[in-house]
Amino acid sequence: MRFLLDPQIIELREKRLSAWWPCRWWCPCYWWWWRRCKCAPLYEPIWWNDSGQIQYNNNCYNYATNYRTDTYAQPGEAANAKWTNLSACDVPSPDISAKMGAISDCLIDAPAADNRCPSKGHLVALVIRPGNMYTWDYHWYRKGRNKYWSHKPGGTPVTNLDNSGNAISDPRTADRGGYTEFCTFMKVMHGHIKIK
């Protein structure tokens, strides 16, 4: 039964459904259900996984915001407020966390999103691997149109699986390896953000 939850199967099922159930648009429940992630980006791993320029020079932040810069974008860099401390989700001033950096880049903090797609823009999630300045790191996931999450770990390929090999329905419960702290959900309004 687990294969029925595979994102590709879900996408295929939606396509087949739309072929022989055109009157679904009259069903308010279906309309509401379909609308929820209509602004989310498509899962297009082939476009990012080119084993070259795109893959190696764009990280999780680029992928989550769906914004290719080829600069390995860092939260806050575009606003001259790049992160300085990744030991926790929130750090005391004057240090800047990844979350604060992202807010400076015009991502919108949405801690109450509770894994629901926004009506405009798309949903991303920030997690961190706490530690010291040599080991700490941050990571981003993005919610796709099929309601499943995908991510791009650094310069490695885009994937829709977690560290246990499972599809990601909620990044809060996914196997994230050492990235143990879930920080927040955030909203990316297309065309409003600037990253570098």
């Binding site: 990280n59 999780c60 932040y61 390995y72 860092q74 939260p75 990744l86 990844a98 040599y134 080991t135 790191d137 941050y138 990571h139 981003w140 991510h151 791009k152 770990p153 650094g154 310069g155 490695t156 994937t159 699986l161 977690d162 560290n163 994230r176 390896g177 050492g178 990235y179």
Partner: protein, 115 residues
């Protein structure tokens, strides 16, 4: 001159540590590669997050990817994987990094002691 740059794939958001590999080390790596046998068992697959191996890119159109006992060489569009059961290749690459550049605790977390 054959210049090679190594990159340890350990971070997701932050840039990964990268360093230049000396020519003598490259020659040593080439010797290890020549001694390895073709990969005949299921190669290890790296988890999405955490230590995901090392990448070496040389300006002579040679690219190596190393993860545990898997060593893959890409040359002129051809790819070949070999089995390094003692992980000599990986150990040499990581030990060639300047001290403190590659957080060894992250690698040990994923693969056990590397030295």
């Amino acid at each position: 001159m054959n210049e090679c740059i190594a990159r340890a794939l350990v971070f997701s958001g932050r840039p990964d540590p990268t360093w230049k590999i000396e020519e003598a080390i490259v020659k040593e790596l080439q010797k290890i590669w020549d001694s390895l046998v073709p990969m005949q068992r299921e190669p290890p697959s790296a988890p999405p997050l955490g230590y995901r191996g090392c990448l070496i890119k040389c300006n002579s159109d040679i690219e190596w990817y190393i993860y545990k006992n898997l060593v893959t060489l890409k040359r002129s569009g051809k790819t070949e994987s070999r089995d390094d059961s003692c992980r000599k290749f990986e150990k040499l690459v990581i030990s060639s990094a300047p001290k403190g550049l590659v957080p060894s605790s992250l690698i040990e977390d994923e693969c056990g002691q590397i030295d």
